[in-house]
C-alpha cells in the first residue's frame, strides 16, 4: 500500500500490471507513476502534504510535510513523492546553515533513484471518509479503511490543503470505486449491488462537528493482496490476471485447510492452461500462489490455506459518522 520503491531505469522492461499490484510503479519524472490501462483517461490530480498509515492501533508509516501528487483514477487512488526525505531541521546559530546544507545533501543522496509511492485499489476500500477544516486544530483529511486479513484492519490518511474540499474528493472516490466494483465483480448479491449502485451516485458528506469523520461505507470489500489487486474489467484484464481470478479456490468455510479436490471443480470453469487435476492454492496471508503439495507458503512462510472469497461482509450500508482518533 505504501512504500519506497526504486525508480525503474528508462530501458528496463516492466510489466506495469504485475509489478504494480500492491505498490504503484514509479515513473521517470518527479512525482509520477506508470498508469495501467484500467486507470482510464479521466485521472484527477491532487496535492497532499501528509500521508499516514495506521494498522493494529499503531502508526506504521508516516510522511509529514511532503508534497505528494495524488491521482484519482478509474481503478485506484495512488500517490507519489520524489522528495520524501528532505533532511535539514537544524536550529541554532550560524553553524546551522552548514549543517542544514549538509543534511539536505545527504538526504538527496539517500533518496536518489527512489520514490515514495502508495495506492489504495478500489476493491480494498471498506470505508472512504473525510474531515473538514473548521478551525485551527482541524484539517481537510481523506481516510481510507482496508484490511490485510480478518481482524487486521488499517487506515490510510491523506492531508489535503485547506482550500481543497476533502468531502468532495471522498465522494468522487466513492463513486468511482462503486462503479469499478460493479464493473469487475460478477458475483454480487442483490443487496451488494443495490448498495454499490447507491454509492455510485453518492453526494459529498459534511459534518459540522470538528474532526468528525463522515464515511461512505461499502457493503463488502476485498483483503489487500495480489489476487484482489488483479480484479479488472473483463475487456482489459490481462490474460494472466484472468487466469488467476478464474482459479477455483473458493470454499464455504474460512477454516478449511485442505485444498478442494479437482473433482469438485466444474469443468466449465477450468482454464485450458490449468489441468483439472491441478488445484490452485493461494496463501491466505499474502495471496501468493502455493504449490499443490506445499503445506507452507514460500513467500511468507505461513501455513498455506485455501483462500476464501476474501470479501468482508459488512451489515451496515448507510454512511456512519465516526469521531476521528486524535
Amino acid at each position: 500500500m505504501i512504500g519506497i520503491e526504486e525508480v525503474p531505469e528508462p530501458d528496463e522492461s516492466i510489466d506495469v500490471f504485475e509489478d504494480g499490484l500492491i505498490l504503484p510503479v514509479p515513473a521517470g519524472e518527479r512525482n509520477t507513476i506508470h498508469f495501467e490501462e484500467r486507470d482510464g483517461s479521466n485521472i484527477q490530480r491532487l496535492t497532499a502534504s501528509h500521508v499516514e498509515l495506521r494498522a493494529g492501533g499503531k502508526t506504521v508509516f508516516k510522511a509529514p510535510d511532503v508534497k505528494l501528487d495524488v491521482f484519482i483514477t478509474d481503478a485506484r487512488v495512488a500517490f507519489a513523492c520524489s522528495k520524501f526525505d528532505k533532511g535539514g531541521g537544524w536550529i541554532g546559530g550560524p553553524a546551522t546553515l552548514v549543517l542544514n546544507a549538509g543534511s539536505k545533501a545527504l538526504a538527496a543522496r539517500r533518496r536518489r533513484g527512489k520514490m515514495l509511492v502508495g495506492q489504495m485499489r478500489f476493491p480494498w476500500i471498506s470505508n472512504v471518509g473525510s474531515t473538514t477544516k473548521t478551525g485551527w486544530l482541524s484539517e481537510e483529511n481523506l481516510y481510507f479503511d482496508a484490511s490485510f486479513s480478518k481482524g487486521e484492519s488499517c487506515r490510510m490518511t491523506l492531508q489535503l490543503p485547506k482550500n481543497v474540499s476533502a468531502s468532495r474528493a471522498a465522494a468522487e472516490i466513492a463513486r468511482r470505486a462503486a462503479t469499478y466494483r460493479l464493473a469487475v465483480e460478477d458475483e454480487l448479491s442483490d443487496d451488494e449491488r443495490q448498495a454499490l449502485e447507491q454509492l455510485a451516485e453518492c453526494e459529498p458528506l459534511t459534518s459540522s462537528v470538528k474532526n468528525q469523520i463522515s464515511f461512505h461505507q461499502f457493503p463488502t470489500h476485498w483483503f489487500v493482496n495480489e489476487k484482489s489487486a488483479r480484479l479488472s474489467p473483463a475487456e482489459i484484464a490481462p490474460a494472466a490476471a484472468a487466469e488467476a481470478l478464474r482459479s477455483p479456490v473458493e470454499v464455504p468455510s474460512a477454516t478449511a485447510e485442505v485444498p478442494l479436490p479437482a473433482a469438485q471443480v466444474p469443468a466449465a470453469e477450468a482454464m485450458p492452461s490449468v489441468q483439472l487435476e491441478e488445484v490452485q492454492v493461494f496463501c491466505e496471508q499474502c495471496g501468493a500462489r502455493v504449490g499443490e503439495h506445499d503445506r507452507f507458503c514460500a513467500s511468507c512462510g505461513k501455513l498455506a490455506r485455501v483462500e476464501t472469497s476474501s470479501r468482508q461482509d459488512d451489515p451496515q450500508v448507510a454512511a456512519v459518522d465516526q469521531t476521528s482518533a486524535r
Binding site: Q44, R45, L46, T47, A48, S49, D65, V66, K67, K83, L160, P161, K162, N163, V164, S165, A166, R168, A169, E172
Partner: protein, 76 residues
C-alpha cells in the same frame, strides 16, 4: 538614496507578503514550500528593514514553483 532604499525595502516586503497571502494553500503545497515559514520569514525581514533580501529569496525560491493554471476540481 538611503531613504529610497528603505522605502523600497518595506514596499517590496509588503508586496511579497500580500502576494504570498493571496496564494491558496494548495498552491503552496504544490510548490513544496511551507507557507507559515516563508510568510514569517518575509514579515521578519520586512520589519527588520531587509525586505528587499526577503523578497529576493521569495521570488527566487517560491514564485517559480507555483503551479500555473492547474485546475483543482475539488477547490472549495
Amino acid at each position: 538614496m538611503i531613504t529610497l532604499l528603505i522605502v523600497l525595502s518595506y514596499a517590496s516586503g509588503i508586496v511579497a507578503i500580500l502576494h504570498g497571502l493571496a496564494k491558496p494553500a494548495s498552491e503552496w503545497v504544490a510548490a513544496d514550500r511551507n507557507r507559515g515559514y516563508w510568510l514569517t520569514m518575509m514579515v521578519t525581514g520586512t520589519v527588520l528593514g531587509v525586505g528587499l533580501i526577503a523578497t529576493a529569496f521569495y521570488v527566487v525560491g517560491v514564485v517559480p514553483r507555483y503551479a500555473s493554471g492547474e485546475e483543482n476540481v475539488f477547490r472549495k
